[in-house]
Subunit: 345 residues, 2 copies
Amino acid sequence: MSASAPSGGTGKPVLIYDASLRDGHHAVRHQLGRDQLRAYAEAADAAGIPMVEVGHGNGLGASSLQVGQARLSDDEMLSIVRESLRDSAMAVFMLPGWGTTADLRRAIAHEADVVRIGTHCTEGDLAERHLGFLREQGVQAQAVLLMSHMTSAERLAHECARLVEFGANAVGIMDSSGHYLPADVTERIGAMRAAVEVPVMFHAHNNLGMAVANSIAAVEAGADILDACARGFGAGAGNTQLEVLVPVLERMGFSTGIDLYGLLDAADLAERTLMPAPPTIDSVSVVSGLAGVFSGFKTRVLDIARREDVDPRDVFFELGKRQAVAGQEDLIVEVALALKAARSA
Amino acid sequence: MSASAPSGGTGKPVLIYDASLRDGHHAVRHQLGRDQLRAYAEAADAAGIPMVEVGHGNGLGASSLQVGQARLSDDEMLSIVRESLRDSAMAVFMLPGWGTTADLRRAIAHEADVVRIGTHCTEGDLAERHLGFLREQGVQAQAVLLMSHMTSAERLAHECARLVEFGANAVGIMDSSGHYLPADVTERIGAMRAAVEVPVMFHAHNNLGMAVANSIAAVEAGADILDACARGFGAGAGNTQLEVLVPVLERMGFSTGIDLYGLLDAADLAERTLMPAPPTIDSVSVVSGLAGVFSGFKTRVLDIARREDVDPRDVFFELGKRQAVAGQEDLIVEVALALKAARSA
């Protein structure tokens, strides 16, 4: 850091969780290779980013024909990143169902410092066994609720309290569809903050151009941990842009402990070496964010809408009304056919 | 608009001013051609966007070797867009010095509905003669203060009151460096709102990922007119993304009168036909936004920093400390040499 650069904040610490090498993986069909992982992990470590997550986009054990086979195995990814980090903690993500206790054992063998278990927003109970196992093993366990706009602040707070009982050392929510506006975040994080004593985290997507503003709303409402990715690396409209979020936090007086120039260097490296191009907000991203639909539906919605000659935007809004979640891809065909029938009626 | 899409807001009207064909022009060195202008203007008109601005990035009369020669003359640009608009108002921009009263006469002859005069934030007096002329001619005249982060809310309010005395029918500010966070906007727009009776406008840039959030802060503080560009089309990190801003406003209950699907179609057309790629926030954009430096300095800063072997980020931060404004390009060399000398001292 140079003497010319602005000095950072000295106020409330905010812990930055860098999801570039895990959530970013979705944008490149899980095809990151050894040199890419190593170079970015070293750059993130040099910048002082406290937590670096790595893995298949869908987490431990998820590499498969169904959601995409990663170029590297979990063992390869974890060993490369472990070797590359000196000060940063290594984090992994797991969705019960894709990953199992065997995967957790493997991650622990690779000395993962943080294990994050994700479930649908109303299904925190699915994390109970894994959180219990991690507590026994003495590993830092975080629990995160996906597609969190689909339920109320009250229910999220209740789920978080349960997750803490199961053993979570930190709890949080993902705005998986990029649907939130700042007031939505304030309400939800505020309720969660009131319900638990452990650190609270927030993970944004940028479909409505609000990822940074929503992340700021989260810390102002009491969140302690924010997820972000270099250049917003991620599927669709991408995640919160890490190297934008950090200096904004510092300017507002929060303290991240991250070196600004090191962070910008890491982001420049990420743009050059990890992604074909940084994410931008296209019209499909706007519509899926407004509709609150899982962005992973995009390709199939576009294909099916073309085949049935209906407007894909109508399909997204109808899927939103029907509260479609990942795994319900059959609904896309049903909605498209219903729209077609309604038009000819 | 389809029955499937969400219905719009019915609350306070917000007037959207589409600057794609003027401010976007900076991103393509003012090289838009006839077919590009015509197709986008028709799409904007079809979507019901109330005001469509056109011209060289620096406004009427600015096409020159110094800031770039436009592909088309002002006459050509205005006549093409005039023919293409049925319901939308045609707007033009002028910076006194680049443009003259003769340019205003020409714009009026082309039936421009709105003429916007821009000055540096503390130099509103430079707009007096032109605003007086427009008042005599009975043309809707707006006045806008550039680089507005460089002065206080109080001073901006004072300048706006003067601009109204000169004849402005609306007054506003540009966040030319993309430096603001929402609280900065709230303070400034609030002070301006209290100082004048005419509509107040706000124009954001996205260097800190805050363009949409800052625009929302502006309307919540009393702004009536928001500038935006399709896909954020503009130099550097770009402008407020039009097709993101509008549905966010509608979801918050504001009313824009714009058709969502038409708007998304116009933005898709813009991405396909106006720009090589939508803007993204690179590291230089973050630094110039933090430093509050005119983004037009970018190329020269990078060149001079390379030549003098200093960090361009240090150059930006030093230029920010010295309050550099457009036209002071000599300062870049001075700062680079000073940084070099300080290092070897």
